[in-house]
């Protein structure tokens, strides 16, 4: 009875995850087809002279900036690619200093669900050291659109992969509830799930290897050391989880064999 409640809860968690993933897949697919969120360049500027849009995909930020030069009556576009996995660290002695403002928490507003935020800076603080810096790569419009499309495609593929993974996990859990524990179909579903988890870090690494060099070349900043190599590295935690799942699936196969022998013992 207790295990049945746990299984039912896990199935429901899978259901919710599948629903969220379907929605995410639809949205990422939509953005992939539609392209990056580049606004209409004929937009009229009234109170502000510039605006920017940040689109974050898998820890990589795509920043689109639109600046209106009133003197020249000219509109300029800037495109930046900011890989958040590249952080340059400065020693406190070598760190560049910048001027900063202090936010007034009493006057500033923030609203999570409505995504509204208003920051009011009250005082000035001079000389804040930049101990960690994430560089931004200036890209031309064509490369920017191409890079963001590729990253959006990565999201589509990731969500599809997760959808398949959760689908087999759900099938395994429903199998446990309906058809008994050590059955051939349960063993197969667990085996597929385990191999999917095991293959995930390799696919992730392959993708990063495929996409990274096309976008950002390696740069060096004087006096700073690169804290993390581009590409985000290999996801060892996923590999270990996959290996553990494969071992469990192997044990499950043995369980199925024992169960079949038990069933055929009269």
């Amino acid at each position: 009875m207790k295990s049945s409640i746990v299984t039912t809860s896990l199935i429901w968690i899978c259901n919710i995850a599948l629903l969220i993933l379907l929605l995410a897949l639809f949205l990422s697919g939509w953005y992939t087809i539609r392209g990056p969120l580049i606004p209409d360049i004929d937009r009229e500027f009234t109170s502000s002279t510039s605006f920017s849009i940040t689109n974050s995909v898998a820890g990589r930020h795509f920043i689109y900036q639109f600046v209106y030069d009133a003197d020249a009556d000219q509109r300029n576009e800037y495109h930046y690619y900011v890989p958040a996995n590249q952080i340059f660290r400065f020693k406190p002695d070598d760190a560049p200093y910048v001027d900063a403002s202090v936010m007034d928490p009493d006057l500033s507003e923030s609203e999570w669900f409505g995504l509204k935020s208003l920051n009011i800076y009250a005082g000035k603080e001079k000389g804040v050291p930049l101990l960690g810096v994430i560089p931004g790569y200036n890209l031309d419009r064509e490369n920017f659109v191409k890079a963001e499309r590729l990253h959006q495609l990565f999201m589509v593929l990731s969500f599809t992969f997760l959808l398949v993974l959760f689908w087999f996990l759900r099938r395994f859990l429903t199998g446990l509830r309906k058809a008994g524990f050590f059955t051939n179909s349960n063993a197969l579903n667990l085996r597929i799930t385990s191999w999917l988890v095991f293959s995930a870090p390799f696919l992730h690494y392959l993708w990063l290897w495929f996409i990274e060099p096309a976008i950002a070349e390696q740069i060096r900043i004087e006096g700073a050391s690169l804290a993390q190599m581009p590409g985000g590295g290999f996801r060892f935690e996923l590999l270990i989880a996959g290996l553990i799942l494969i071992l469990i699936a192997k044990a499950f196969d043995q369980g199925v064999k024992l169960q079949q022998e038990q069933d055929l013992t009269i």
Binding site: Q260, E261, L264, T265, I266
Partner: protein, 68 residues
């Protein structure tokens, strides 16, 4: 399989149906069918004892070894 189950032969000799045997030995009809058709992987001593008692025979009358 090298071990042959001659349950049907013994049932015919004793003029007993499988249903009747299943009631006597308290083993389900489907399990006895598995045994009779040779699909079983193992047989418990308690089951063998009950069958021998019901059919008034020896284990050797039910099980036979044949070289493949």
């Amino acid at each position: 399989m090298a071990i042959i189950v001659n349950l049907d032969v013994m049932l015919a000799k004793r003029k007993m149906s499988l249903t009747e045997l299943s009631e006597k030995v308290d083993v389900t009809l489907s399990n006895l069918s598995i045994l009779k058709t040779g699909k079983a992987k193992a047989i418990r001593f308690s089951t063998l004892e009950a069958i021998c008692e019901a059919l008034d025979c020896q284990p050797g009358d039910i099980l036979e070894y044949r070289e493949e």
